[in-house]
Every structure is written in C-alpha cells, then in structure tokens.
C-alpha cells in the first residue's frame, strides 16, 4: 500500500519529466545564463527580432558561476553573461567557451577590453570603483579628488567601501589599486593606510550607498553605475572620477558545447546585443542600474549622467594574471581590512 | 478433533532471548470458552497473538477450523483472512468512526450488504442499541468495551479472542461485563479463547481453564478440577490457594509445626520427603482449641459486609480468611482444617 503509493508518485514524476524534456527538445531555444539587469528585455527584443526562442536563467553572479562550474561536464547553457573578466577567463581556461570575434566597430574602450584570443566578448564596461560623496554632509571644498586624498586624516572614519569577498565588482577595484601602485604589496599598504584612517566596510554597493545616504559615512568607494543610479533616484550624491579608474568589463561567452546551429544563434545574439537596436534596449532596460554603462561600440554614447572619460586614465586588470589570485586577495582583505 | 475450532500443536515462539511460548498443545471445540490464566510474562498474550496471526510461529502448527493457518514453514495466513473476532485490552476502537461504523466496518470488509442490520443486532446483544451514532470518546470505558465486544461478534466469526478485556475496568464494571461476555458468547455459540490474569474471571467464564507459566501450559482442565486438584504448587497458588506451609509427612499423618494432622488421602508424596501444604480459605473454619486445631494469630482484620476479612498468621505462613465475627489484631484463634481437600506437594516440586 504505502509502497505502491510511492511507486505512483515516482511514475507521475517521471511521466512529468518525460513530457517536459520532450517539449524542451522540440523548440531548440537559446539558453542564456545571465546576471545582467536588462537581460530579460534583451532576450525579449531578440526573440521578437529573430524568432529564436530564448530561455533565461537569471541570478546573481556568484550562484551563476557555481551553476556553470557544476555543469562543466555537460553544460546546459549556450550563452553566459555577467560582469567581470576573471570568471569568464576561468571558463575559457577550462575550455568551456567557443571563441567568437564579432565584426563590429569597437570604440576605444571596446578595443581596450576585448580579449586578444576572442575567447569571449566584452559587451559593455563600467568603472569598478569611483568616489561618491554625500553633498549634504560634505561641502564641495572638502571633496576628495584623488585616491591619495583618502588617507588624509581629514577623512578619518568617514570612508566606506564594499568587501570584495562578498561583492563581485569590488575585486577589480581592489586589484586596480595594486596595478596602479605597481605591486600587490603597494596596494595592500594603501588599504592598510585606509584602514588606519577608519575605513568602514559593507557588504555590497547597495548597503554602502545606503550608509552614505544616511550619513554613516560621507565618502564611498563604489561601482560608478551604482552611484549614478542613486543620484538619478534623487539622492544627494556626487560622483567623482579620480585618476586612474579601473574598467569592469561586462563579458558574454558562447558555450563550446553548443551545436553548430545553436552556436550560430548565439553569435546572432551577441551581434544583436552590440547593434544599435540592442544597445537601445540595453540602455532602457535597467535605467538606474546596469543600463548606466560605457558602450564599447562606436556610434553609441553613454546615457546622460555618465561623464566622458577623456582626461581620466583608464586601466584594465589582466584576468589571466589577477583571476587566479582572487581567492587569496579576497581572503587577505577580509582578514586585514574588514576585521 | 473433527469439530475442533482451534488446534495448537507444539507451538514455539521466541523473542530475542526470551522463549515466550515453549511447546503448547491445546484444542478448542465449537461453542467452548477456554480461559488461559497466567501471570504477566507467562506467554498467554503471545499465544493469543499467534492465534490472531499478529505474530508467527517459530515451530509447531496452528489450525483454525481444521485448516492450517501457520505451520512455521510456509507463509502464515494473515490475520485478516483467519475469520476472527477479537476484543483488546485497551478496546482499540477506531476513534474516528461512530459506534455503528466501528461495529459495521469488519462486516463491510467481508462484503455484507446488510452490515447495518447485523451491526445493530450485535449492538442490541451487548445492550447498546441506542448509542450507535456516538463516537468512542463519548462513551464510558464499560460502554467502549461493549462496543468492542459487539464488533468482535458482529460478523459471527469462527473464533473469538479476548485479550484481558476487563483489566482496564473497575471492579463493579468488571463483574457486570463478564456476565455480558459470558451471556453474549454463549448465546452466539462461538468458541472463544480468553486470556486473563484474574482467576475469578477465568473460573467464572471458562468451560475449560488453562494455567500458563514460562511459555508452558501447566494444566488444562475444567475449572472445578483446576480448583480442587491443581497439578502443581504454582497452579494452586495462582488460583488462590494460600501456602506453602512447610509440613513433614509422618506415617499416615502430617506434622505441621508440631500439630499432627491426618494425611490427605491421595497426597502425591512419594518417598515421604519434606512437603508443602496449600490451603484454600474456605477449607478452614474457627474451632475450639483441641486436637488437630491449628493455632493462628490475627495480624490485621476489617469488616467485609458478610463478615470480617482477616489476615491470619499460621505456623510457617499466613492466610486470608473470612470470619463470621469481629476479631482484633493480635487475637489468637484456632482453626479446623478440612484435611480431605488440603493440597500437598513435595517441597522440591519444580513448578
């Protein structure tokens, strides 16, 4: 009796399973794993433009990478799309990506962040770290203008940033300081100086900026799009672009396991994304978040409120060098700066 | 054998280290009530559960209505296909069903379309005709056990099993309900195996009475035989005899702490070694001091309606007696013994 009830449940479950997998095979859709704010809108527009059905798995970068990694032997995704180059480079090193070089007219930023082996495509960029101040709390005369200003005792206890072990986009920022200062050690010394100056750490951009809004801190180091987004929502913020800034590429990769037809569809998606129409969708989909990016193709300008980077030094962290060090540096940061 | 409703031959059952049933043989003819009497752990409940099919034999053979239901080799016939009725110690009424449904469910299971009628007849038989719509929790303990009895007899099973059905009831209800059981079962003419540890219940109900201990059936006889001629000191004691009183056999007589008494005629004493004497209270009566009178001292006494109940110390032991007049603690008295009935066993008797 109870055994036959279980048997029935199992039968029902497997029947359901068969039905679903049959349905899935009939359509041959493009499966996209993504952590980008406007991904659903892009998928919808793409589907409308090409008739190719898209199925999304949309979540934060962390679990997304875990899912991709666990699927390694039999990947179920055709496209993977998230912020940061280190994770993408890691996938490329494991042979999970099919290289693709779209024939588009890159702008200067675009050229700077495309990988030379075309293992993946950088579809946009933001700045891993800028300075955001609370205008109501800090008079303009007191605003910091360079990274060096932040260790000035004047800002003692007033500065906050994210923990790179929790917030993905913060790692390239941490690395950026090491790059600029010439070595990992020099970067670490600078962070120790900040720590001595009363640096506060929060989990993510959102939490750090809330602290800024409420006067817990007066100066924040966060991703530029997050700061601009809050400004657009009416918070009394000012975004300052000190020299240099580190680019945070938004990367998209195509699975090496995809069938030729599906790979062609995936390439179509990348091209659509980089087209005029695609860029319009991208800039509308998440107006106070991920839409606030620097375009990488010529002919598309950033949204209003995103200043030109002329006059600012722009640098990138080589993911093949810095990717493997992420765990160690995050751990160092947690142990020495957060605690 | 041919009209045997139940036959048990060489039954063995062991739980881990405990030999619960150790070689029991008995049979039950139709319409007969057989009571098994024994202390807890004597194996009577195990035997009943074996008959019910709730446990399975390790060895031996069990037949119901002539058909083998368990021979310790093939798969035993499951309880639901043995055609039984059973009354449980804790009633085991199904709490979510009404009285009528409780009685009727076994009938419906057997495909009886007239189950309501049959259930009502059974309820009438136990005197609960008016309560069929109630639920068990709305009934008193005695009423619940009547419902359980009605449920057991409703389908007219070949054999009824009773598992100490009265032990959860108070004394007055117990007396009342054992009469209901006796009347109902005899009227229905169904054979019954009834287990209990209460000797008065067993004597009252039984056509034949068995006494069990350590998984063995020590004696199986008519109640009066068990009463008058218990085969062992244990059976004597468990059926209410007082003792043992240490006595020494003499030539055709007994010496009980210096008192010389005539030896009971068929005392099974071979060799004349030290002996144990058992007496039932009715065999003693107050007497004048004199030859053969046994001296006693009242330890405690109290009024008991038709006389005084007293615990009286005799030589080498004590006995509960019913006395016609008031006695006080510490009072000395003399008792005459009906030596013809007295029970005598070798003192090294094993059981």
């Amino acid at each position: 009796m109870r055994t036959s009830a279980i048997a029935k449940t199992f039968l029902a479950a497997s029947a359901l399973c068969l039905g679903l997998s049959a349905a899935a095979h009939a359509a041959q859709p493009l499966v996209i794993y993504s952590a980008i704010g406007y991904d659903a809108d892009m998928a919808k527009a793409f589907q409308k433009a090409t008739g190719i059905p898209v199925k999304m798995v949309d979540m934060s970068t962390g679990p997304l990478l875990a899912r991709v990694q666990a699927e390694k032997q039999n990947p179920q995704w055709d496209i993977v799309w998230f912020d940061g180059a280190e994770g993408m480079r890691n996938l490329a090193l494991q042979g999970l990506l099919a290289s693709y070089a779209p024939k588009v007219d890159w702008n200067s930023i675009g050229r700077k962040i495309q990988p030379s082996d075309h293992a993946y495509v950088a579809s946009a960029a933001s700045l891993a770290g800028v300075i955001v101040v609370n205008k109501n709390k800090l008079p303009e005369a007191d605003w910091p203008h360079s990274w060096g200003d932040l260790t000035n005792p004047r800002y003692r206890g007033m500065i906050g940033m994210n923990n790179p072990a929790v917030s993905g986009p913060t790692y390239p920022f941490v690395v950026g300081q090491m790059l600029w200062r010439g070595s990992e050690e020099a970067g670490k010394t600078w962070y120790m100086g900040l720590k001595a100056n009363g640096l506060k750490t929060f989990r993510t951009n959102g939490v750090t900026l809330r602290a800024l809004d409420h006067g817990v801190i007066d100066v924040a180091m966060v991703q530029n799009s997050a700061g601009i987004g809050r400004m657009l929502k009416g918070m009394p913020f000012k975004v300052i672009y000190p020299n240099p800034v580190t680019l945070l590429p938004r990367t998209i990769g195509i699975s090496s396991h995809a069938s030729p037809e599906v790979r062609a569809e995936a390439e179509k998606f990348v091209n659509f994304l980089l087209s005029k129409r695609g860029q319009a969708v991208a800039q509308k989909g998440d107006p106070t978040g991920d839409s606030l990016y620097y375009p990488v193709v010529a002919g598309t300008s950033p949204l209003q409120g995103i200043p030109s980077l002329a006059g600012v030094t722009v640098q990138t962290a080589d993911p093949t060098v810095w990717g493997p060090r992420e765990g160690d540096i995050d751990r160092w940061f947690t142990n020495h700066i957060v605690h | 054998m041919n009209d045997a409703v139940l036959t048990i031959a060489g039954a063995f059952k062991r739980y881990g280290e405990t030999q619960a049933v150790a070689g029991v043989d008995l049979s039950l003819t139709s319409g007969e009530i057989l009571c098994l009497l024994g202390p807890s752990g004597s194996g009577k409940t195990s035997l009943l559960r074996l008959v019910a099919g709730l446990e399975h034999l390790d060895a031996g053979e069990l037949r119901i209505g002539g058909e083998i239901v368990d021979d310790a080799r093939g798969a035993p016939r499951p309880p639901e296909r043995r055609g039984l009725g059973m009354v449980f110690q804790d009633y085991a009424l199904w709490p979510h069903l009404s009285v009528l449904d409780n009685v009727g469910l076994p009938l419906r299971e057997r495909g009886r379309s007239d189950w309501r009628k049959a259930a009502r007849v059974a309820l009438e038989q136990v005197g609960l005709g008016t309560l069929e719509r109630r639920h068990p929790y709305e009934l008193s303990g005695g009423q619940q056990q009547r419902v359980a009895l009605a449920r057991a007899i409703a389908a007219r099973p070949r054999l009824l099993l009773f598992d100490e059905p009265l032990s959860n009831l108070d004394a007055k209800l117990r007396d009342e309900l054992r009469e209901v059981i006796a009347h109902t079962v005899r009227e229905a003419g169904i054979a019954a195996l009834y287990i209990t540890h209460d000797q008065s219940e067993a004597f009252f109900l039984a056509d034949r009475l068995g006494v069990m201990r350590d998984g063995k059936l020590l004696q199986l006889d008519q109640p009066e035989t068990v009463y008058q001629r218990p085969v062992s000191p244990f059976v004597a004691h468990f059926t209410g005899a007082a003792g043992p009183f240490a006595v020494e056999p003499l030539e055709n007589a007994l010496s009980w702490a210096g008192i010389v008494a005539p030896c009971p005629p068929d005392a099974a004493l071979n060799g004349g070694g030290p002996a144990a004497l058992y007496l039932r209270p009715q065999w003693l009566s107050p007497a004048e001091p004199g030859a053969g009178a046994v001296p006693g001292v009242v330890r405690v006494s109290g009024y008991a309606g038709d006389g005084w109940s007293a615990l009286v110390d005799l030589p080498n032991g004590s006995i509960h007696l019913r006395l016609p007049q008031r006695v006080a603690a510490g009072e000395r008295l003399h008792l005459r013994v009906d030596w013809d009935k007295a029970l005598l066993y070798p003192r090294d008797h094993k059981r």
């Binding site: 009796m1 055994t3 279980i6 479950a13 359901l16 399973c17 997998s21 499966v31 996209i32 199925k55 999304m56 934060s60 990694q69 666990a70 699927e71 390694k72 032997q73 039999n74 179920q76 494991q94 072990a165 929790v166 959102g206 939490v207 409420h214 987004g229 978040g289 990717g323 765990g327 947690t334 | 063995f12 062991r14 150790a22 019910a52 099919g53 709730l54 390790d58 060895a59 310790a72 080799r73 309880p79 639901e80 043995r82 055609g83 039984l84 009725g85 059973m86 804790d90 085991a92 709490p95 979510h96 009404s98 076994p106 299971e109 068990p136 619940q144 099993l161 350590d214 063995k216 094993k350």
Partner: protein, 580 residues
Amino acid sequence: MAAASETLRLKTPVSGMVFRGLASFRFGATWTLPAVAVVLLVVYPLLSFLALAVWPGLFGQGSGGFSLQPFAEALNGYNIEALFNSLWISLGAGVIGTATGAWLAWVTARTRLPGARLIELGIWLVLLLPSYFMAIGWQTLLAPGGLLNLPWLASIVLGPIGVMFVLGLKFMPFAYLTLVSSWKGLPEEIDEAGRVHGLGGLTRIRLALRLIAPGLAAAFAIVYAEALSDFGVAATLAAGVNFPLATYAIYSAISSQPLDFPLAAAASWLLIVLVLPAVWLQARINRHAGRYSVLTGRARPPRPRRLRPAHTLLHLGGAVIFLLLALGVPLIAAAGLSLVKDPNLGFAPGNLTLEYYARVFQASSVFGALLYSARMAVLSGLAAVVLGLALTVLLLHRGGLARLLDWALLTIMALPGLILAAGYIFAYNQPWLPLYGGSPLLGMAYLTGALPAASRMLLGPVGQQHRSLHEAAQVHGLTRWRQWLRVRLPLLATPLLFAWLLTSSHIVFELPASELLYPPGSPPLAVALIAYLHGYQYATEAALQIVSVLIVGGAVLLIRWLFARLVPAAWRRETLRRPA
C-alpha cells in the same frame, strides 16, 4: 521437562529458522521502494558531491585522483574559523530555540492563557517566513541609517549574538512542535503528585523537564541542525558583519574565483561531522525512553490550567515580545520599506505610497514565478509527505537500518540546500541520467530538502498511534491497504495536512536549490525576489515579499478552514487517546 526447555533456549527448531528467512525476505520487500527513493534522492547525489573532497578530479572539476588536499585547505584559517563559529552559534541557537519552544509549548498546551491560538498562529508564521526575511528585516531596521536609530542595539544584533538569536528564533517552531506533544503527553498526575508531596516549584519544573527530556533532546537536535545548515542568515546578517559561518564559507568556495568544488565538499564533510553529536545525543536519550508511546494508558490527558493574573501578564508579555522579535521585525521592516516613498521620513501621511505594490502586480513575470513556485510547492510537498510517511513508518522499526535512515535524514537537515543542489547537478546532469534542467529534478530537490522536517513532524503522531488500532483492523478482516485507508490515514489526517502545509509553504520561498536547479525560462519566486535585490529595488522586493507572504498565508488559512469544514470532526481530534 526442565531439560527440554534448556535445549530450546539454545536452539530454534529448523522449521522456525526457515520461516525466519522468509520473514526477513518480506521485511526486505517493505524496505525496497523507500530505500530506492532514499538512494536516488539523497545518497547518490550527496555522495556524488562529497566524493569530490577526496577525489577532486571527479566530474571534470579539479585534477588528479585520490587526494586529501581539499581537507587540508578546509582546515585552514578562514574555513576552520567559519566552522567553529557555526558550531558555537548553532549550539547557542539550539539552546535559545529549545528554551523558547519549551516555554511557548507549555503555555499553549498546558495553560489557558488568553490568545494562545494567536501565539500558535504566530509560530506557524515564523515557520513560514524564510530565514533571510528575518535577517534582512533586522538589517533594514538596525543597519546604519535603518528605520531604528539605536546604535547600541545595532552593535549587539548586527553581530554574532544577533545571528545566534535570529537563528534560535527562526528555528524555534521546530522545537515548539516537538515539545507540544511532549507536554500533552505528560500526565497531570505527575505534577499533582509533586505538589501533594510538597515539592517546590523549581523541583517540579525540573522533574517535568526530566520527563520530557527525550522531547527536549529531539528539539535541540533539530534546532541545532537547522541552524547549522541555514544559509539565509549566514549570507545576509552574518556576512553583512563579516562574521563567517560554515555554510557561507562553503558558498564562497563555489561562487567566488577560483571556484573550488573539492574544497566545498571537504568543508561539507566537516559540517556533517558537526551534526553527528546532535544525532548521537538524541539516539542516546531515546534509548532510555519510550518516546513515541503514550506515557500511560490510564493517565488523564492534561487539563489546561488557569494562571494567576500576574503570571498571565508575565507569559503574555513574553509571548508578545517573542512575536514582535520574530515576526514583527521582518514584517514591519518590509512594510516600512515597501509602503513609504522616502524611508527617511517614516510613516508620515504624505509619505505613504502603494506604488511598489502596483509594480509587483504589473510585472506579469513575477506572478508567473509565484504561480510556478506554488505549483512546485504543492506537488513536491505532497510527495514529501507521502515519502516522509513511508520513511516514518520505517524509522519506527527497531534496528540498524532504521538508525541509518535517521542519520541520513539528519544529514540532509544539516547540509545547506546549496550543497544538495550542487550534488543534484553532478548526479543528474549525466548523458545517461539527463534529469537536470527540468522541473522534476527541482521538485526532487525540494522534496528531499523537505523530507527530514516532514518525517520528523509525522514521527510523533505515527508513533503514538496505538498499535492495537490497526491490529484490531487486521484481525477483523481489513487488508493492509484497507487498514491504511480506513483506519490509519484518517487518524493521521491532521498531522499529514500540517506537514503538507508546512513543507509546501517552505518550498514556495526556497532559495538555494531554486537558483541552482531551476529550469531555464521558469524562475521560481525566490529567484524573482533576489533579482529585485540584485537590481537594488529594495522597496519592490519588500512589496513582493509582503504580497507573497499574504498569498501563501491566505492559502494556508483557507486550506485549514476547508479542512475544518469538510473533514469529519472525529478525524480531527487531536488526542486520540481514550478518556480514562
């Protein structure tokens, strides 16, 4: 005769041994199907994942064959610190949860405190709310610039002590549900005997606690294991104050560069080791007490006692504080976030808005997610209860297999859902077992996650069902199937319904397995909620939280009401003991 019995004690007759062989064969058949289910749902996927700890090259993850390197890494500074934090935090949460649970269970089961039904309802709500609701609620209230500006409180709550309290409060309902039946099973006479013999109040309380010790141990084991495996609080409240817990360390290992599944597997082994003491404690105490049988047949079921006014006030006040902390905080925080335009102005009349709720109702995809989660929850909840019931029946058997099963279930309880989900990907993303990527596999993961709680909730009711009830059915001609249909299931209707409601409403909000296993294109509710957080739309997320809690809570109440209306009263009697 005596000699015969000697030999018998030594040797069972041959025929008996033959029969015993047959019996064990039939016994095997009863175990087969549930065992297959447990292997497919738990053993195979979990071992797939855990094997990585010693064989990093499996599933193309690390490289090489047998290695203890992952364990060496798992025992390094950060991971061992996280593990140690998890241990003492969970022990503390276990004590807090068991103590609060024992107290509230006593109040609702043994006293006539006014509002006891409301307390019970509140506890059920706590059970429904996912732990991250609670943690986020505290953060919203107390984080710098939150709704409450109480730095001293923030410094306590937003730290280890707060993590411990939130975990204790969140998992208290498991202790409560376990202990309600313990208190109900404790005969009134025990306390009366104590009073008559002049025992003081404290001694009587100690005596009562000794008697319900098996219940207390079971409650502690559950709360401890649940706190150990919790991810919602670890990833929000604890991570927010940089207080690493083991589940979060495991999560970090598989979600931040470089992704290290072998390390996560080794850390998971260590987490499992931490659960074992709880299992051992429970097993030890149970060996000394017949936990699942009614204490005595003749004892009266306890009468709720009337409290003195002062005590009534005291208990009522305590209950209100509890409900405020456990329920009020997350709900007020979510309401505060979702109902106001500018969080800085608070609940000022001009500052109120329903805009965020309108957004939730406009987004059709969100309702799709809610609907999908609801459907998955109803079905997997049902499957969890059916399988849970089968496993419960097996658990009540005595013997090694039952104990093994018990351990397996507690292991699932202690493992973060993320690990189970990762194991499911490894195990079922195989060319020869391509279940991954479909709803059935997600359903299986939901079912497995819900299994320990479901079977533990049923353990008491099934165990207390008096054996003679179904024996009576058997003897009077009911086949086994009919015994279940006519006697056992109707009597279990209430616990089965509650187990189903509980598991289903848990599944609606389940996050980790949802994220890793959801079929492309069909996001479940928790994923949709997190997506809003990801886009910094805190107010909309809070609005969706409140809407979904209201919908799920409403559905639960509706089903309970229908149950009360449609199911015969006699099936719903809580105590199936006969009145003596």
